[in-house]
Amino acid sequence: MSRAVAPPGLAALLAATPARLAIGRAGPRLRARSYLRFLADHARAREAVMSEVPRSFVRALGLVEIGTRAATRAEYLAIPELGRTLAPAAVVRLQRCRRRPDVQLAITDGLSSTAVLENGAALLSGLGRRLRARGDRLGTLLFIRNGRVRVQDEIGAIIHPEIFCLLVGERPGLATAESLSAYVIFRPTRCSAEPDRTVISNIHCAGLSPQRAVRAIVDLIAEMQAYGASGTTLAEARSAAERGRPGDGTRNRRTEARAADHQPHR
């Protein structure tokens, strides 16, 4: 199908979005090339959800691996509670890990193994380096297989870290399967709830790059240490300090919608 020459200005508009635009049509349907591109991106996203992080990768990063009660990816997807609870062997293993660190770092596959494989190494090494340089005492580095966000609370109740930063693979879209979120919490307990966490999301090369994410997370940790708080309590303390009066209960953004354990409101 022939089309008129693109008018000036169109290219600039199209360049401002990753959406699949100006792709023409075959009758009213997608053209073969657009259709095949779409299928390829969906296949990549499915792969990210269903595949496993290899043990060799975990070992190469020097992480201690622990598991949740979800034994398989299928179980993990079907029954969210399993991914929020540690396997008995994991509880035993955690007993031998470093207690009461200043900062506990951990990473879990969540809904994207690909995200862990692509960005996990850069994030963990960058965070480790910067935090140690600040004089923070780090806990044993953990990889949690088939984990969801709230597994942070059970681990926290055993390790008792001052700050716990958990990196979680986000539900992949067609644009990227490599995105992670950082869930950071001050003194997690079994009674912690979602508003107690502060989230930095969309961490991948085409979003918030791992290098910038490391800086953002370290700044956030420093702020949590200064205020002794995280989540909405931190947001309130921060705005109170800025305005010199009590906080107004700042609402969390909804950018966490893609994260593994977040209820996607629309």
Partner: protein
Amino acid sequence: MRLSVRLHGRTHRFASVREVLGRANEPKSGDRLAGIGARSHLERIAAKHVLGELTLADLRAHPVVPLEDDEVSRVIDAGIDEEVYREIRGWSVAELRDWLLADTTSSNAIHRAGRALTAEMAAAVAKLCSNLDLVYGARKMPVVTRARTTVGLPGRLSIRLQPNHPADDPRGITASIYEGLVYGAGDALIGINPCIDEVQNVTALLRLTHDLIERWRIPTQNCVLAHVTTQMRALAAGAPMDILFQSLAGTEAANRSFGIDVALLDEARAMIGERGTLRARHLMYFETGQGSELSAGAHASADQMTLEARCYGLARRYDPFLVNTVVGFIGPEYLADGRQIVRAGLEDHFMGKLLGVPLGADACYTNHAEADQNDCDTLATMLTAAGCNYFMGVPAGDDVMLSYQCTSYHDGATLRQLLGLRPAPEFETWMVGHGLMADGRLTARAADPGWFLRQS
């Protein structure tokens, strides 16, 4: 009221109406997760038999959440047309089903009966329907609403243009709107899911869409799907808003987890009437989806399909312009695969229409569900045959902000041309006037987003 049945030599007993409703559901991962779905196929069918013999009065007397515990139950019960209810209260669910499908029952008669139905009754009758029953039955229940465009007329299919952007970039959003319009999408709404739920950003997006609609004199309406409280603050600050949005759930407790209650929604409805740009009867837009109550830990041991019907019962109070289920979005722990998503989509549309609510659908799936675009095609085609008011329109079906897939601009055009349907009449006139559509089909000039830039 009889809660047991003998089937193939075995007696099946159920403890309550709520349990019967749960066990009678078609298989859904969410009901299994909640431990309230049938434990065997035979038990499911036994529950359907029991349900078929319950009367409408039995169901009204046993809402899945008691009136004293839940304002959603109270809103629905108080909204019942008592005069019509007295005529049909003795009907069994099976009788209601056959009456709905009968050749002698008109659309007007169904519309009148719907005013006497609670959500539990609508859910019960849908549980006695096959997929084709749900399609055929819903087709008899048109619900028409009107703002700048008229949506839901028989012979018409509308599209909500959903030009989302991962950073709310105005140029990127404009590009998506241009492309959607030249495919004939946007007659239901131009509705953006904002990435940043803040007053300033929401106001900017409302201005962007408002100015675009004014400049091109497009018969449609704008909406930015932020939290209702953010939209109210934007309205108070003078943002140009046509339609006000909120997500709904089917229990008071689940709505509280969304940060809303009936008092807040009442206030929002009054505010859009006074401060919105439109002087129309239909000004609200709601989204729902099976499983949201369970995911909020607020399902009150009721099944997700009945709870979904309760969302429509609540929506009815506000005389909304648009309501749609986001059927595959809530996740595979509630609807595991394409088969469950298709079934739930057909149920939701049928139940909503029966309750007199203008149902559209976001036929969609996430990448952690066992589903793909073929399932989305199947559901959208069946729902179009069922007379669904509208679908979403997203570039190539890939939402780059919400990271899920649904119907594309192409799909909207295809479904219309396949089944001989037109856009909303006001919008069709606009398309035809610009040479983008003729005889209900896209012209050679259509489908090129550069068209807008050439006009200026």
